[in-house]
Amino acid sequence: MLQEQELKTFVAGTTNFFEVSAQQPATIGSPYLVTKGKPGMHDYTGVIQISGKREGIVYFTAPRAMLTVLLMKMQETDFSHETMKDLVGEVANTISGNARRDFGQDFVISVPSVMTGSGKFEIPESAGLHPFVIPINWRSHSAKLVVALK
């Protein structure tokens, strides 16, 4: 079962990126557990795999519009597909770095990978993972942090 402190670490890694990089904090919506179906994906998704003491995945998924504004706030002028992928990869990287600091060597955390295209993330049902979804709201946009650990 997901522990509150673990969830806080992943959330802090995500919100910290917005607060520091864009100088504008993100807020957290009401978290919910996905018991039926699959958590949704936005246009760009940064994924980290967790193994060791806990197993599963954590991903940050955001719409292109949100990432575009975030890039503008970071003084970027390149809004290409590659730059969007780069950005969600950096967010996932920050989440991963936070987790390594807080959880230590009991958790083995992968280098982030990036997926594109909205849809449903394919978490194998046989894995017995119940994804926890935390809405990440920033300006008028909403992204999702999905934590699925067992």
């Binding site: 520091v20 950096e90 990287n93 770095g97």
Partner: protein, 123 residues
């Protein structure tokens, strides 16, 4: 005349541009940017920088291995690690290989400039 040559190493285009854009030192001249350790070594040999910003997690050759090789080529080089890896073990390993400073991602412009200033004081 620029006093220090800077090489920026990071696999993220965004981060490379961010570091280049945000550093505010007239005496620093960016002589190259590299997306991994292999590129960084090649550029290092060509440009002979005095100061390097170095990411850790990169394809082909990571920052830790690259630091070791760069310090082997030029022991007086000053290296600032800029990484999302926030754990102490990574920072200690980088320092043991020859890094002189460590800045966590994400960072503000002010944090970046303070870290670079600190690095140049020792150069």
């Amino acid at each position: 005349m620029n006093a220090f040559k800077l090489l920026i190493v990071d696999d993220s285009n965004i981060m490379r541009r961010r570091i280049e854009r945000s550093q505010q030192f007239d005496e620093l001249q960016v002589v190259g940017t590299a997306a991994n350790g292999v590129e960084a070594l090649e550029l290092f040999r060509k440009t002979d920088p005095d100061v390097v910003t170095m990411d850790i997690t990169m394809p082909q050759m990571d920052g830790i291995e690259c630091i070791e090789k760069i310090v082997g080529l030029k022991p007086a080089v000053r290296i600032l690690v800029i990484s999302a890896l926030a754990d102490k073990a990574t920072a200690v390993e980088a320092m043991e290989k020859g890094a002189n400073g460590f800045l966590n991602k994400p960072f503000t412009d002010r944090q970046l400039n303070e870290a670079i200033a600190e690095l140049m004081r020792g150069a």
